[in-house]
């Protein structure tokens, strides 16, 4: 069956998002673009299995993600140091007055294990719901939630962000430090 023009247009429109997700996973633009290429070919071949009206972006992300992990397995997995050694060497400095350098952030993101990184990207950046992210990652919604939460704590730890109240008076700190305890 011929691939419809609309499908092709939608694929084209999804490329920027696919590249962003691929970059987040692969951390390397050549690998990312290869992933996107492979994803487009697969999507094209399997277009009949896509149900019109459902979320094409989620469908494509699923293909890309599967491709990423299958390539990683084939390659014997380039080991990512996500357990401390690297984190120790990572130049960190306390976030100054709510300022956080994007480069530092990127470096910190790279230190996360893939499962946590993809979860926090899907939820916090790609705009997927927990349900959609769970479908893309083929796991339970609760698993996504806990990965996002661990990713977030880990990033805070690496970037030395304490809590999430940088933009205002820290209510807990003021409670602790406040002298007006009645």
């Amino acid at each position: 069956m011929a691939v419809s023009q609309g499908f092709k247009t939608d694929l084209l429109a999804a490329i920027p998002s696919l590249r962003a997700f691929a970059m987040s996973l692969a951390q390397n633009s050549d690998k990312a673009d290869d992933l996107v290429q492979e994803t487009l070919v697969k999507a094209w071949d399997k277009h009949e299995s896509f149900q019109p009206g459902t979320n094409l972006k989620a469908w494509l992300f699923t293909i890309l993600r599967n491709e990423f992990y299958s390539q990683m397995r084939k390659r014997g997995r380039e080991v990512q140091d996500s357990d401390g050694a690297m984190t120790g060497r990572l130049a960190v400095h306390p976030a100054q007055q709510g300022q956080l350098d994007l480069e530092d952030f990127r470096t910190a993101l790279e230190k996360l294990p893939e499962d946590q990184r993809e979860a926090i990207i899907l939820i916090g950046a790609s705009g997927f719901s927990y349900e959609e992210a769970a479908e893309i990652c083929q796991c339970a919604v609760g698993t996504i939630k806990s990965r996002v939460s661990r990713a977030r704590s880990r990033l805070q730890e690496i970037l030395q962000i304490s809590g999430e109240s940088e933009y205002g008076p820290d209510s807990i700190a003021s409670q602790v430090m406040g002298s007006n305890a009645a």
Binding site: V3, G98, L102, F105, I121, G124, E166
Partner: protein, 61 residues
């Protein structure tokens, strides 16, 4: 159709741990928006054009 501008998507849920009040959430969106806004190499449009010209019958099997 999605607007892939540089503006991070609005998160209406104030309790969202990665929402606009979260520094991590903001950076995440900024990081991603930068990636999304990168120029797409021509190879992908070329690829789709190629796929389009490949007779579907050859993919049987």
């Amino acid at each position: 159709m999605k607007n892939d501008g540089e503006r991070p998507p609005h998160v209406s849920d104030g309790a969202d741990p990665l929402g606009t009040n979260s520094q991590i959430g903001l950076k995440l969106k900024q990081y991603y928006a930068e990636l999304v806004s990168e120029e797409v190499p021509d190879r992908f449009a070329d690829l789709l054009r190629q796929l389009e010209q490949t007779p579907a019958a050859s993919k049987k099997g």
